[in-house]
Amino acid sequence: MKRRNFIKGFCTASALAVAVSPSSLLAKDAPKSGNKLSLDMAITAITGGKAVAESKKVSLTVPEIAENGAVVPVKVHVESPMTDNDYVKAIHVLASKNGNSRCADVMLTPLNGKGYFATRVKLGGTQDIVALVEMSDGTFLKTSKPVKVTIGGCG
């Protein structure tokens, strides 16, 4: 190998290394969990392959920008009469890019009176929060909202 080529190669390699390192560092910080599930896998696990419709009946309240990813308040409201025949069966809260995207599964009954659930979740970085709702007739509704995270809350 000629000296010139060697130096050229070395320079590009080091430049690449510098460019790559921030993302690889981030990858190291990403949560590694035993029951690692991506968003698509989690959704299929919940629905069992059924179609999911985007719906305005489900409203999701999340902050646009979360200063601290460790505490992100999430509120889910579902329009439903909550009678014995027509009620919200389950609310699933998912985060699209967390190592384990499932946050909470909430099984409701008509006694709840309203389709409502609120909690606080950790987010590893900027991503979408997805609320997946199962109605008592077996249909699945979904809505999602992006959250910008300044400081990640995992790791």
């Binding site: 969990s33 909470a104 909430v106 006694l111 709840n112 309203k114 389709g115 909690t119 950790k122 790791g155």
Partner: protein
């Protein structure tokens, strides 16, 4: 049950009647360890420790059950609605992934 965890049940609003829909908030002091963090002193990875099952029940009859993962924040807060049918007792049972079981209960006293 190693030690009783600090937990709290709140009704919002505080005053309510039979038939009203109220919020039942449940807060518990729990580390919710993800199993990815390193202990700064020892350098070992802290084992995962999080609440995984929660049951809200009214007079022993469950009305909301939850399955929760480590992605929920430290000292978690869960809020659900309840349409008050009558006087009763709200009990929240929760278990974590280490098998720790705890309960917390509060009386439901509707006025009027």
């Amino acid at each position: 049950m190693a030690e009783a965890r600090k937990s709290m049940i709140k009704f919002k609003p505080k005053k309510f009647k039979v038939g009203d829909t109220i919020k039942v908030d449940f807060i518990v002091i729990h580390p919710m360890e993800t199993g990815t963090k390193k202990d700064k002193k020892t350098g070992n990875i802290k084992p995962a420790h999080y609440i995984d099952n929660i049951t809200f029940s009214l007079d022993g009859k469950p009305f909301t059950t939850m399955k929760v993962w480590e992605t929920v924040s430290t000292n978690p807060y869960f809020s659900v609605n309840l349409k008050v049918p009558a006087k009763g007792k709200i009990t929240v049972d929760y278990t974590d992934n280490t098998g720790e079981k705890n309960t917390k209960s509060k009386k439901l006293k509707p006025k009027g």
